[in-house]
């Protein structure tokens, strides 16, 4: 009871503070630059420029700082960087949650966009392994994917080890005839894919959506048993009655925004905008396409995207 009361009170206080700040604070509250984190993939670069331009239109000084996708959260938590527009459940969950728990970074809300990551095969694999769309079918031709280091097991090219996924566990739980090899970075995955693709060699690798791979390579995700909470708690659930974790990844992973905790006090108006910022899957794909296919630079693409989505942008900054 007290908890609900407390929550209600804080909600009211919070709301009134928010409206108060909107009423009295005049953007920009400070001339100090707001520092937006940039990573090294297309959609993040375009989106961070979009956010930068929206804030600049409000009168803020914006600077961009490149950072590693894992190292960035510590920098946000200590206030050296202020805002990250794309934090992925798949690759950054552990670092993100650590930074929020350590007090210093706040979760600035989720986008409408959802993310999915799963085992992925190029379409030509289906010619030699017709059932590969489903995990059982893929497992039947595991030997096609074997190499000197993994034989007689098939080789699954997995995500970087620091993304906090353990595919070895899933392989065990589903009793699959595969060995997960972790790459060091995403670029390595793509190099493996490109090489196999050019030679039509069988490959199964980790992939996710939305990213630029869809616009360059033809392929699909492998279907695993749809995950439910029971999968991870109840051994009897799923194909293997003796193991937990015998299911795939969710189709709707979150995509969040992360911000420095002090931002709300220092730049209340900007903080309000940041909380409202929301991209959908289609909008992200359109933004990335401007760069990956049309060959624009990230900043040009941001201008184009803003022009194309003027109403969306307007709804954030009011």
């Amino acid at each position: 009871m007290t908890i609900t009361k407390l929550m209600a009170t804080s909600a009211i206080v919070g709301a009134s503070m928010l409206t108060a700040s909107f009423a009295y604070a005049e953007a920009p509250e400070s001339d100090d630059p707001i520092i937006i984190v940039q990573n090294n993939w297309t959609s993040q670069l375009v989106l961070s420029h979009v956010v930068g331009k929206v804030l600049e239109a409000k009168g803020y000084t914006v600077e961009f700082a490149p950072s590693d996708s894992q190292l960035q959260f510590a920098s946000i938590a200590s206030g050296d960087m202020h805002f990250q527009v794309e934090a992925w459940e798949g690759s950054m969950k552990s670092a993100f949650e650590k930074a929020v728990a350590d007090d210093g970074m706040v979760d600035a809300g989720s986008h409408s966009a959802v993310t999915r990551e799963e085992w992925w095969i190029p379409d030509y694999v289906l010619e030699t392994c017709p059932g590969a769309e489903e995990w059982e079918g893929l497992n039947k031709c595991a030997d096609q994917f074997a190499t000197a280091e993994t034989a007689p097991k098939g080789r699954f090219v997995g995500p970087p080890a620091d993304w906090g996924k353990n595919y070895a566990d899933r392989v065990n739980a589903l009793e699959m005839n595969f060995q997960a090899i972790n790459v060091g970075q995403a670029a390595t995955l793509w190099a493996e894919l490109q090489s196999a693709y050019d030679q039509k060699k069988p490959i199964v690798l980790f992939n996710w959506t939305p990213n630029f791979i869809e616009s360059k390579f033809k392929g699909r995700f492998v279907n695993f048993p749809e995950p439910e909470p029971a999968c991870f708690e109840d051994a009897s659930w799923g194909p293997n009655p003796n193991a937990t974790g015998d299911c795939g990844a969710t189709h709707g992973g979150w995509l969040k925004k992360a911000a420095w905790k002090g931002l709300a006090d220092k730049y209340p108006v900007a903080w309000g905008v940041m909380q409202k910022i929301d991209f959908s899957n289609a909008q992200i794909a359109a933004a990335a396409l401007l760069v990956d296919v049309d060959g624009m630079e990230a900043e040009e693409a941001a201008d184009k995207w803003i022009a194309d989505n003027a109403d969306v942008v307007a709804s954030w900054s009011n």
Binding site: D80, D102, E149, G164, V183, G184, Q185, A187, A191, F212
Partner: protein, 662 residues
Amino acid sequence: MTDQAGGSTSTNFLPDSLKGHEAKVAYVAIITLGVLLSFVWSGATRWPQEWVLPLEGWITDGINWLKREAHIFGVQVKDITRAIGATLKLPIKWAEYLLFRGMKPLGLGPLPWVAVTAGVALLGHWIGGIRLAMLCLLSFLYLSFFHLWKDSMQTMAVVLVAVPLAALIGLGLGIWVTRSKRAAKIISPIFDLMQATPHMAYLAPVAAFFAAGPVTALIATVVFAMPPMARCTILGLQTVPSDILESGKMSGCTQRQLLWKVALPSAKRTLMLGLNQVVMQTLAMVVIASIAGQPGLGHKLLYSLQQLRIGLAIEQGIAITLLAIVLDRLTQGFAYREVDHFAATKSFLQRNWHWIAFIAILIVSYVAAEYFREVKILARKQTFSFAREMNDGIREFNKIAYPFLNPFKEWMTTYVLLNIRDFFLWLPWPVFVGTVALAAWRLGKAPVLWLCLALMASFIVTGFWVETMQTTYLVLISGIFCVLIGVPIGIWCSRSERVANITMSVCDTLQTFPSFIYLIPAIMLFNVSIFSNVIAIIPYATVPAIRYTYLGLKGISPVTIEAAKMNGATPSQSLWKVELPIAVPEIMLGINQTIMMALAMTAITALIGSTDLGQEVVRAISTQNYGRGILCGFFIAALGIIADRLIQAWASERKKQLGFNE
């Protein structure tokens, strides 16, 4: 720990030195005992979990405490480090204003590319005549016409601060070490640590204290680029011929004069090698620095690779290399510039036309930039790129070469690499520790023995034995390849000036051209595998072996070689019996550096995909597990230090045998 007891008691009851056959018996005994032990006690292959020292957690907690709570005289430690950071940021800020930000209060834009390019070309002409001028001009035109100008200037802003800072600190520390025995004892291992600890290990804590961004990048760069300068200063000052110092003293030099006017100038050759290394290492750090928040070429390069645009990454990589070469040639040229003896007879205009021309171009370009944007920076439509063609070329090459190279890789992997790896993973630690300890004791007596034992104990009791062995075998294999390739090339260079010139340019390129770029084609050809890791280490780590071998042989006085010839030595006798033995100290320094570089590269190979200490370092970043990152980084360095001490001890033993006195 049985073996440690064995190792230390042996100092008591064994004679001062072991004869050859006694040593063999001792080695066999250690190996047999170790293997037998592993049969009865599983802890000999993997340290028991319940005995693991939780050092990792203590370090993490310690750093978090320092970061959040620690105070010195009532001032929070973090505030102090932040203040230092702010001071370091000042010179970077100025460079940024000049090169790409512009000075808003004055209403001035950044230096137009036309002015910078002309300025560098004029500087090149002033220092090294028309050839150097052309090199500078073409390099900077490349930056502009391949649409890399702004990124290059962002990179330059940090480089221009890092190079002098690293060179000055290195010189200062080097001089200090030659002055004080105690300093030498403390500082020398610290240099080893600085160079061999992968940058990734300390990027996270440094970023925590100094704020991610250019300052952290600067600190990481200086930490990495400074030790070669210090080492070369030490080597240079120690090898100044005593008669030169003597004559300095006789003509009444004070201590200070002796250092600045006599010793340092006569050590110039080695000092300039140090500076060359500072420039190269600084540019080699550009990509790593971008992970810590430094914008510029490094950041763009990682982005290109992430999008599989290898062609674009190559163009950006070439820009980094060109910056390195231009900076290096300018500094080297400046140091060896001939004094103009006719200056007095020339008019003011003749003496100072470089400056006058630069100022004129500067003013004109600033004014012109107001009307023509092209003068300030070229738009993308006005620039070139062959990225797409290069990309297609690499893919085609891959398609053609894969069927030939892949069987070779499979063969190497199955018959060589996997066997060596399995051997190292099987190896019970008492065997490894015992043999290394015995070798250490035979070569370097108690000090080396104790150091090696302490370092080896550190990675065993903290539970990182398996990862350490993964790294050991990777570095061992790569190191052997590097020496086998590098030393002969170094010898070849010393025989032919032309070969040397070409090779040194290739070395500069290999050292500065970001290894990230050739990782991708390597992965396309060899997939994520041990073989790719070895291939990735070799180009970078071979460079010191070549360079120091060449320098060592080049530095031998012609009188010695002449004497050998007079005594009837054939060229090959002269090489093997006279020159190589004399050059051993420097070749060993080179091999030492090769091992350090190979170890440093294990963090890069972690980006291909590996399971060793390097991977642990990278993985620790995501969980902000400072302790794990630092520990694994330290273990990588520890391996380097063990190898270094053994090699050094062996080298000095060898020199004694050859009749050289130290």
